[in-house]
């Protein structure tokens, strides 16, 4: 799994931080997403997928390798 985030789209809601704190954080000054881990371990994949689908700004894109 590879995560990309779109800082322009991000509205700083922080839902990803609550759901998958291993992969996402927020910038202190404006709350915009900080990607901590673009290729998270498999154990975090479910949470990351949930974060992407809940993201109110549709700012999280995932590409999943077929392996």
């Amino acid at each position: 799994m590879k995560i990309t985030v779109d800082e322009e789209r991000c509205c700083g809601a922080g839902q990803c931080v609550l759901i998958a704190p291993e992969a996402f954080d927020q910038r202190e000054e404006d709350g915009i997403v900080v990607l901590l881990d673009a290729e998270p371990a498999e154990g975090h994949h479910t949470a990351v997928r949930e974060a992407a689908s809940v993201c109110p700004a549709t700012a999280i894109q995932l590409s999943e390798s077929p392996d």
């Binding site: 322009e8 789209r9 509205c11 700083g12 809601a13 922080g14 839902q15 931080v17 609550l18 927020q26 910038r27 202190e28 000054e29 404006d30 709350g31 915009i32 949930e50 689908s53 809940v54 109110p56 700004a57 549709t58």
Partner: protein, 411 residues
């Protein structure tokens, strides 16, 4: 309605919008509104001024459209489907700061204040909010029975929280609560709303002036610093202050009363909230209440800047679009058995706070306040009950934010 759902828009009898809620089910969207969904995920409605904007009812379509930069939130646009009559052309889109702007201008202003609403900053406020809630409940319990929950807790709590965050003196609360109420009323005249806005704007402008002279550790002082740095005009700062003060009032207050009222109708689910040891139970309950109640009703409004193809229809450039979050939140494709309140369901995909770049800035704060309020209220007042029949409760059928004017409770 006699026309078939597949009839051509030009010849179809276009339903009027909005329609009042049915008094027998005050927690549900009006039957007429729900009927719109049977016409497909988007259909035309007739507005108060005889314009016929699109109404979008589907969850997926609303998520797609609200994420699309070809829809503008600028309410000075001639095609903008205003929810209430206004003094045409005299309502500048800067009135409510970035709410009425598009990116990149919207993002420039919003990101000057969004740092105050990160998960970390809001979590740091939780103990303070807990103390405030406890104080309001203590005072209510020491006072006469029955009490009005609106005045005892629901309105003063978010009002105090946002005042402290902004650096607005809470002793002025009667002034800003009264004016906020007029601004979100759908029955106030355009002149009354304009006067309320002028009052709040003047008040915030004066406060910004004071923060420029004597900055403190609050959000308005942060804006004052941006003025000094040449990043922001005083006018922009005052308008943002109005928006944040207003946004911090009616929405959360109505969720507190409506959520309490709804849980009192569902005692078994109320008991689960009261007895929960796991904070996740409360988090989940709050999401379900947000979904079910959708207090920001009457739709989110946009104007198409270009032609947009969606769900087999074409929204033409210049046409108004009304996105009905309360129907998205009852979409059975996303929420099975959507009219059943179930605090254990996964309701996180609700659109109570909107979608896209205008997603509610204050939502982490609102969520946290609600997560503190409900369990605290039901634990501290285990015998809490209504002191009136639901049929006698004055619901805000006439306000753009739905709720109750009064909630008599006893214990």
């Amino acid at each position: 309605m006699t026309t078939s759902p597949v009839a051509d828009d030009a010849s179809a009898e276009i339903p009027a919008f909005p329609q009042p809620r049915a008094a027998v089910c005050p927690f549900d969207p009006s039957p007429e509104l729900r009927g719109l969904a049977s016409w497909g995920p988007l259909t035309r409605v007739r507005s108060w001024n005889d314009s016929t904007p699109w109404a979008v009812t589907g969850h997926a379509e609303q998520r797609t459209l609200l994420s699309d930069p070809r829809l503008s939130a600028d309410f000075s646009h001639p095609g903008f489907p205003s929810p209430v009559p206004h003094t045409g052309g005299e309502r500048p889109s800067t009135d409510l700061s970035f709410v009425g702007m598009d990116d990149p201008e919207h993002a420039r202003l919003r990101r000057m204040v969004s740092g105050a609403f990160t998960i970390k900053r809001v979590e740091a406020m939780r103990p303070v909010v807990q103390e405030m809630v406890d104080d309001f409940i203590t005072r209510m319990l020491a006072g006469p029975k029955p009490a009005d929950l609106v005045q005892a807790l629901a309105l003063p709590l978010p009002s105090l929280v946002i005042s402290e965050l902004l650096g607005v003196p809470y002793e002025d609360h009667e002034f800003f609560q009264t004016n906020s109420k007029v601004l979100v009323s759908a029955v106030a005249t355009p002149e009354e709303r304009a006067a309320a806005h002028t009052n709040l704007y003047g008040y915030l402008d004066q406060l910004v002036g004071e923060k420029l002279a004597r900055p403190g550790d609050d959000l308005l002082s942060g804006l004052a610093q941006q003025i000094t740095a040449g990043e922001l005009t005083r006018r922009e700062a005052a308008a943002m202050g109005v928006l944040l003060l207003l946004g911090g009032h009616e929405t959360t207050a109505n969720m507190i009363t409506m959520g309490t009222l709804l849980l009192l109708q569902h005692p078994e689910q109320l008991a689960r909230v009261r007895e929960a040891d796991d904070p996740k139970v409360i988090v989940s309950a709050v999401e379900e209440l947000l979904r079910y109640l959708s207090v920001v009703h009457l739709g989110r409004r946009r104007t198409a800047l270009e032609d947009i193809e969606i769900a087999g229809r074409t929204i033409r450039a210049g046409e108004g679009v009304i996105l009905l979050g309360e129907l998205a939140n009852r979409d059975p494709a996303v929420f099975p058995d959507p009219d059943r309140l179930d605090i254990g369901r996964d309701a996180r995909h609700h659109q109570a706070f909107g979608v896209g770049t205008h997603h509610c800035l204050g939502q982490p704060l609102a969520r946290m306040e609600l997560q503190v309020v409900y369990p605290t209220l039901f634990r501290r007042v285990p015998t809490l009950r209504m002191a009136a029949d639901v049929a006698d409760i004055p619901f805000k059928y006439d306000a753009v934010i739905y709720g109750v004017y009064e909630l008599p409770v006893t214990w």
